[in-house]
Amino acid sequence: MSADYHDHDDHHPSPWGPHDWGHGAPHNSFSPLIMSIGCGMFLLMLGGLFSFGEYDGRYLPMIFVSLAVIAAALIVWCRQDMSFDGSYEPRAVGVPFKNVQVRKVGVWIFLWSEMMIFSSLFSTYMRYRQGIPRCDTVFESGDWVEGVAVTCFEPASKLIASSWWHIAPGAINTFALIISSFTIVQALRWANKPVGSVDEEVRRKRVYRYLAATWCLAALFLTLKMIEWFIGFHVPEIGFLGLHEHDIHSLYSEGYLINNDHYQAHHYVDEATGAHMVANIQVSASLFYVTTGTHGLHVFGGIVGLTYLTYKAWTGAYNPQSAVSIEYFGLYWHFVDLVWVLVFPFFYLY
């Protein structure tokens, strides 16, 4: 509430536009305000779009509006960062991190909370995996009644690991993420080569191409995920490989669903008597979709970050002075990769 603003408001760069990084903090920005409003709108409209699994399409346009607001905030944020060339990289002044870049410490601390998020999700998984009997076991025990849904645990791996074709999207994704961790490091390596040791045009091309490769691998990951969840795919007839023409169903069409109305689709049939056991697998499906979905959202966040990095690299902004920005993103990206290395065995194989 002090009246000190007119002492220095002339020096403030626009809260919409690029910063002048020369003179130090603070830099005003409209981005936080817009992003908060966008997030609030999104959650509000999501609450209108779905209510206890019931869909109400009237709110769909507003969902897109709120996503556009969030995107606008991100654009303002990134636009302000475009002029950042690494000359104002703040460094730690106190022990024990003296001279380490401040933003690097921030990223490590951020990853700490990410660890807690995935730990909580895995705790939920362990609780239910241990606490609810497996559907196979229940079915074989015969302890069920025709027509009455049995609450039991059906790991997604039962469907996914049932054939090489079913597991193919997840397996390819695993390699996609591991390779993308390699390409991001290559981008950093090229950006970091000392000035003079490499032609600047070669550096620009290498950095942005490696970043674009990372972007493509991340996009491949999400595409395959959608195929595995919702779309399924077709295996053609290839004679010399001994392949017969058949369809690989998505998890959705196999009845692996969170929705109360659909779980009846998931049933076991006793070959001998023809009796059906209806399995209520809502909890297992919720766990699978939310845990792998949270990881997928992190990949999507990575794509958003990579879009900015790739564009900035295309303008030739990365050199040894500013290369460390790629390193910060790489820390996050390796973490997302590492989480997948845990998610894959727990949800796809076991």
Binding site: G47, W112, T124, N280
Partner: protein
Amino acid sequence: MGGSAVSRRLALISLMAIAMIVVPAVTSLPSGISGVKDTGCNCHGTEADPSVTASISGLPSSYNASETYNVTVSFTGGPAIDGNANLGGFNLWVSEGTLATLDSSTQLWGPNEASHTTEGNDQRSWTLEWTAPVSGKDVDFILHTNSVNGNEGDGGSSGDMWAKAQVEVTGFGGELPEADPFKVLATLIVVSSVLLSIVVLYVFYRNNPEGFEWERFAPWITEWLTSTDHKKIGTLYFVQGLFFLGVGGIMALMIRVQLATPGAEFISQGYYNQFFTLHGTTMIFLAAMPLIAGFANWIVPLQIGAPDLAFPRLNALSFWLQPVAALLIFTGVFSGGGADTGWTGYAPYVVTENTHAGVSMWAAGQIMLVASSTLTGINFLTTMAVMRAPGMGWFQMPLFTWSILVANLMLFLSIPAFGVGLIQVFLDRTIGTAFYDVAAGGDPLLWSHLFWYFGHPEVYVVIVPAFGVISEVIATSARRSIFGYKSMVYAMAGIGLVSFIVYGHHMFTSGMSPTLRFVTMLTTMLVAVPTGIKIFNWLKTMHGGSLVYRTHTLWTLGFLVTFTLGGISGMFFPSMALDVHLHETYFVVAHFHYVLVGGTVFGFFAAIYYWYPKMTGRMLDERLGVLHFLTAFISYNALFWPMHRLGVVGMIRRTHTYYITTDDFQALPEWAADWNMLISVSAFLFFASNLLLVVNMIKSLIRGEKAPADPWGGWSFEWMTSSPPPTPSFDPHNLPELKDANEHVANEPSRLGQMFRRLMVDDDASEGGSH
């Protein structure tokens, strides 16, 4: 039920069946009519006949809750012939309350539908008993009567007539119908933006009344909306925190009016549930946390000699998420369906469709607050780790900064669990996942674990910063350094460590394993050790110093009394046997208000009086301050102390009302009503006395005395800048330096620090001297 009753009933049913099959000639179904509420008795003619008149008598024009009325239904006219065995029948449907039979001429189809019996088929009027509901809603009575001639042709119903009567009994002003939440939200946003604009314009005018110019308004308001300066964001947090402290306080007053007298109906149960839920959520997340964040923003960079926080723009995002989250949390209230789950939001109730619709947005708002707290955590932990001024080692950090470090570490490591739990609840309520759906195998206790894994550290997150404030204030007021600085730091760190393994004491009555109960009982008792160390250190600081009685000193002394009392009442809960008795009673309410109000709020009132001159450059009025302290301290104790006793005699927490009549199952002793009245009166006094603080702050802004840089004689970094401090707070190219007698020790990295050094890649070396 005896066997004879069963056989009698079976005999009756078979008799009825035989009667229905063998005697098709009977008219107006002699065994009773059901399900005709909407269709009418169309078996006795397609339209109601005006020559028959149906009537209901014995009903009041407006009813009292739970009272029983004798209702007489009758008809006149029509073809009915006196003396006929089947001359008339009726069907009565009520929308609320319960019906009961008085004699064998009537029977019930359910609590809200009645008809005649075979025995009562020869009458023109019947009498029933109706017990009024407690909801207070308006009640509809729909009556259909048949007038029957008893002929035998055409299925026995030709020439019969029927009539309908409808009576509405008004309730005592029950719940309003739910409004469209989006319309109400839009109205709310418009109204509050108008009010907010008026306040903002007034502040802009007061800011510089002589040089008032409209051209300067846009840059001024933009500066506040876009600022990334830690001092401006701190002020925004501070204003938000005080505003919601008032909102939460008003909710508490509503609760206290309702509880002032036994059996009261001031607010309905549905609203009461919203009030206590949102009182809790508001006070913890929208009042206490922003107040703490406000002071942390303002003071921490100043105390460690940093130009700003490490990530100023993320800091702005942390703040702006909060008001938007507050809007979401309150969305439901204004449409009549705010969250009614309690701030703990226990599963499985929180994911059922019986809850108010506002619960979804209540969860969504809290998800945003989790995001805000996570960003704050990243920011503060980074700032404190890397931006301490040269010369300031970990053990030269002022205790307030230490307390913020410990609090943020606790919050940062626990809040993701809460966030994940909230996301699960939100998804359960929206897209229909089944994390806490018991029918699908969901485990409600999992929510309790995720919630309390966060919830217990959370209560320390709000109290530990108050410890920091008290340490600062007491050292300055006693005019000496704090007694046992290192033990203070270790005590706070100890509280932080133990906070993660005590949360089981919130779940003693949930049926968790006795071994775990025992473990959490011991660890909870362990918390008393570091807390006790802190209290003795504060006492010893005063003992060794020479105390100056300023307003903030008074609040600190008040804190020492009330917090210690709250700490002692807290030691009743880890003891499992006592906990089972005291669980969910007002003893719990008394305990946590003693630590949260007597601890956190008193601590932060001390902080306001201590740092306000530094923040605004104006002194507060000491006389008003002392008056505020005296009235607030007395009314506060009168408000919360009696709750201990009420809790011990069994007054249940979160209960809509209570009874002192001796025939009630959960009746309280008669004196409980007097204590409750005292509590309610004190609550109003406490609220009013806190308005003195608001008056004091506004008055000081307008014509307060100019504050010097160091009005209290403090010696941490913040007192070395001007009041208010410049922007950036310190020149990044010329940081202050902390000189220490043990400088060689302070600047040497510790064992741990040396280990870190070896692990870290030396960034200068890898860059090969490129610049």
